[in-house]
Symmetry: C2
Subunit: 147 residues, 2 copies
C-alpha cells in the first residue's frame, strides 16, 4: 500500500526537476485511487509565465488526462503550501484532498485568507508530510541564488 509519504516523495521528485532547471523548487502530483494521474513542477522561468506553478500545471494535466473538470475523488500532493492563486484553482477543482509539505509564511494562502477557508467545503487538508525535506530544497535553492 502507498501512503502520503510515498506520494509526497513523488512530488519531491518533481520539485527536484524544478531545482535542476533553476526554477523555485515546488512539485505536485495528483492521485486518483492509488494512481498518479498528473504531475507538475514550477515552470515560471521556462514558460515565462508567473502563473505556471506546479499545482496549476498538475491540475490542468489531470483535467486533460481524465477528461473531467472536477476532481472530487482525487488528492493533490504539493511540496509547499499553495499560494492564493493555486488555492483558488484547487477550490474550482473541487479536489477531494490536499496534502502539502512545508509551510510558506511569505507566499502561502494563509497570509491573505487568514482564518477563511479558501477551498471547497468538502475538501480535506493535511500538511507537514516530509515538511523538512520539502523546505530544505527551497532553502538550498535560495541559498544558491544568493551566492
Amino acid at each position: 500500500m502507498f501512503d502520503d509519504e510515498y506520494y509526497m516523495r513523488q512530488a519531491l521528485r518533481e520539485a527536484q526537476l524544478a531545482f535542476e532547471a533553476d526554477e523555485v523548487p515546488v512539485g505536485a502530483v495528483v492521485v486518483w485511487g492509488d494512481k498518479i494521474i498528473a504531475r507538475g513542477h514550477n515552470q515560471v522561468e521556462r514558460l515565462n509565465d508567473c502563473t505556471a506553478h506546479a499545482e496549476m500545471i498538475a491540475l490542468t494535466a489531470a483535467f486533460n488526462g481524465i477528461g473531467a473538470k472536477y476532481l472530487p475523488e482525487a488528492t493533490l500532493y504539493v511540496t509547499v503550501e499553495p499560494c492564493l492563486m493555486c488555492s483558488g484553482a484547487l477550490y474550482w477543482s473541487k479536489i477531494g484532498r490536499i496534502v502539502y509539505g512545508a509551510s510558506d509564511p511569505k507566499n502561502g494562502y494563509k497570509k491573505t485568507t487568514g482564518e477563511n477557508w479558501p477551498f471547497h467545503p468538502k475538501t480535506q487538508l493535511s500538511n507537514g508530510t516530509m515538511a523538512q525535506e520539502c523546505a530544505q530544497l527551497m532553502k538550498d535553492f535560495f541559498a544558491r541564488k544568493r551566492q
Copy 2:
C-alpha cells in the same frame, strides 16, 4: 483618447463571445500604453478546465505576447470581480492596475480575503465601470440556464 469605458467595452465583447459559446460570460483585456496586448474570455467548458478563466487566459496571452512575466505598466480590464485564483494570478503578475465591472459576492475574491489586499502592493484597483452591462450579461446567462 481612450478611457476605461472604451476598454471595458472591449472586455464586454469578449464576455459576449463566452456567452455565445454557452460559457459563463466573463471577458478580459490587457492594455499596455493605449494598446490592447491580450484578450481572453472564459473557456472552462470548451477546454474542460475549471482554471480557464478570462483573466488567466488574458494574462498568459500577455506574457507570451510581450515576452515578459511581469506587467507593472499594464491594466487588466475584466467584466466581473476576479475570483481568488485570478486575484492570486494578478498578484504574481505585478499588474499596474485592475479595473473590474460588476461585483461578484458569490465568487469574487473579497468573499475569502475579507479586508486583506490580495494584489501586489503597487497595484491600483477600480471597479464599477459599466457594472450594469457586465452584470446584466451574467444575469441573462443564468436565466437562460434555468430555463
